[in-house]
């Protein structure tokens, strides 16, 4: 049974002064896994990764070893890209790793590139993470000087170039194909898949893309051995996981847990639960893109499959707790506005769906909506899911859909209250004709009216996002 006092694999003495330097990192046994890996064949390293059962820590939870094996064999330029864009709301685990232990990521990345046969690598880090990118740059210079990065690494015949690439602020660049376009110097628009990046990714070459935490776990797997690592956690979710807990908890922050512990243990045991006198109203188990769960789900084991069965997902491992002092409409509005702003505009269901969802939520708040709007809003969400090139639209549709389903009563009460305060009739009563009249009166006119907050057109990414957020 997994417990909260997991072995600290990623966070072991993470605050030790100087851990970001090669000197301290090596004194603690750093780069020994790399030496061990280079003494093995790439196939043997890959076997260890597969045996570990490590699933990607970025959100999708795909088996890392399998992903590595998708890269074609043969002599050609192959790319390894580390996704350090970490922009899923609620997620801040990679930030702590890169800032305090950048050599761990670099070591894991070199080992993974050896297993995959990749000779060029990039760390795509979000532009806002100045401190973390500086830490990585400094560590990279040290790693290069020590011969860990460059030609013929320590006589192994394996060569690797590594560049830290800073983004410039766009959520969509965390989506792997959007990231690749951005890394190629374009707008970060996602691509049609297939072809998948393993076949045609960066510069049309075979590309492996892994999250910071995934790659940072690789040195530990080589040190412990894949099978030993797989004993941690539960059968289909092995190992430890960094969890970012935020929102209405007393001790927000990053915690390293063994996968499979009860979610309650994380939210109450580690993070201290909501402030005194308040109760959990709902919680996002894996970033703002995951469907919300309710207090009765608190005992669901925190692992990939259990959360999936509970109707949500582990995602990036970011738990956002909302307590009973907050209206669900506010949570929905924040979520929807974020995705509206971040939609790249390439696919219609996402571009329009996120925009209309915000407008419908605003109608509820201003007393212009009827309970029927909830059904329309729910159906909009259904029409987004699965109909776009990437999952950004789904990432709004899933949580919003879950909020409508799980807090229907509260939405309806809000609609009624807002209508009453606007002087319209009680729609929950029998006066349906008037209710319908209200819909007609308020509907098209409101929908066509230009947005008074001077919002950007959907899909226009430029300018000041403050106009989006400021009015909330």
């Amino acid at each position: 049974m997994a417990t909260a006092e997991a072995p600290k694999l990623l966070f072991a003495d993470i605050d030790e002064p100087g851990l970001a330097t090669r000197e301290v990192y090596e004194r603690r046994g750093g780069y020994e896994s790399l030496r061990a890996a280079l003494a093995m064949t790439p196939e043997a390293v890959l076997e260890q990764l597969k045996a570990s059962g490590l699933r990607g820590r970025g959100g999708a939870g795909f088996a890392m070893g399998t992903k590595v094996s998708f890269l074609p064999k043969g002599a050609m330029d192959k790319y390894l890209v580390c996704n350090a864009d970490e922009s899923e709301p609620g997620t801040f685990k990679d930030r702590e790793l890169m800032q305090k232990n950048p050599h761990l990521l670099i070591e894991g990345l070199i080992i993974a590139s050896y297993a995959a046969g990749a000779n060029r690598s990039f760390i795509y880090i979000r532009g806002e993470y100045v401190l973390q990118a500086d830490a990585l740059d400094a560590a990279l210079v040290e790693a290069r000087n020590a011969g860990y990065v460059g030609e013929d690494i320590h006589g192994s015949g394996h060569s690797l170039s590594l560049v830290v690439h800073r983004g410039a602020g766009a959520y969509i660049c965390g989506e792997e194909t959007g990231l690749l376009d951005s890394l190629e110097g374009k707008r970060g628009n996602p691509r049609l898949k297939p072809p998948f990046p393993a076949n045609q990714g960066l510069y049309q070459g075979p590309t492996l893309i892994n999250n910071v935490e995934t790659l940072s776990t690789v040195p530990t797997i080589i040190r412990m051995g894949g099978e030993e690592y797989a004993k941690l956690g539960v059968e289909t979710s092995t190992g430890t996981k960094l969890v970012s807990v935020s929102g209405h908890v007393q001790r927000p922050g990053n915690y390293e847990i063994e996968l499979g512990i009860p979610s309650r243990e994380i939210i109450y045991g580690l993070a201290g639960g909501p402030p005194e006198g308040r109760q959990v109203k709902c919680w996002f188990p894996g970033g703002s893109s995951s469907p919300v769960l309710k207090p009765e789900d608190l005992d669901v084991p925190y692992d990939f499959d259990s959360l999936g069965k509970a109707g949500s997902m582990l995602g990036s491992g970011a738990i956002i707790v909302v307590d009973d002092s907050t209206a669900i409409l506010d949570v929905a509005m924040k979520t929807a506005k974020f995705y509206r702003h971040e939609s790249c505009g390439k696919c219609t269901p996402c571009r329009e769906g996120t925009n209309w969802t915000v407008k419908m939520l605003e109608r509820i708040d201003s007393g212009e909506a009827t309970p029927m709007d909830l059904e329309i809003m729910a159906s909009v969400q259904e029409h987004i899911i699965g109909n776009c090139l990437c999952v950004l639209g789904d990432a709004m549709a899933m949580p919003i859909g879950s909020m409508i389903a799980k807090f229907k009563d509260e939405f309806e009460a809000h609609i009624e209250r807002a209508r009453l305060s606007r002087g319209l009739s009680d729609v929950a009563g029998s006066d349906l004709a008037l209710a319908a009249q209200g819909t007609l009166d308020a509907g098209p006119e409101t929908l066509l009216a230009s947005d008074p907050s001077g919002d950007q057109a959907p899909g226009e990414h430029a300018g000041d996002p403050g106009t989006h957020q400021g009015g909330a």
Partner: protein, 253 residues
Amino acid sequence: MSPRGWDTPVDLEREPATIPNPDTTPVPAELRAEIEAHMANYPDRRSAALPALAAAQRVHGWCSPEAIEQVACVMRVTPAYLESVASFYDMLETSPVGRHSVYVCTNISCSLRGADELLEAVLKAAEDGIDGEPINVRAFECLGACDIAPMASVDGVYVGPLSISDVPQLLEDIRSGNPVLPELQLARRLVADPHANSREYPEHPIQPAPGGAANLELPTESPDAAIGTMDGERPGPTAAVEDTPDHAGEESA
């Protein structure tokens, strides 16, 4: 303000801009060297678009037509291509802004802890700018620091949790050039996990002042003097511009 081309008409008579002529497009030597160093990092030079535009923005304050022209000249791409890139990313400014920026995170975790009120307070306090110069205060999407919510990124330095009473000091620190709210800097914080460290460690050192060496790849001196350097005189690729990191923020005392 609406983005260009939405409410405002475009000049249909204007000839499409081509790749700028190096003979007639002066580029500051240091900016040119930095962009060239970035281009050398990638198999395809266009990959340098983001770091190059960021570098030009540091020199010019925003991605002005002049800044874009200079980057286009060095990268040998059209200004339109770079505008398409600049207009996509939130951190690249496509209209003039103040030199100092305060990004207030207003995403869900921060707003649950009072970010919207904080943003309002910062906007109000910064209304008149600092010493007559405007400050770029804006709401920003999740900055990845929900553990210190509500928080802000002041010229790239993360501070939080902020209360409204911290706002005057925050602006005063920007004005005076001191490190911003040293006690509240993210860089100092220890990890929340109580079992992570086997020993007690001191708090980490604070970050230098915004706009200090750690946040800039270019020297802080004005590069104006270098304007006029022509193509033939560009410094060699050995110029020390390859993302030279400053260790000051990382190494512990």
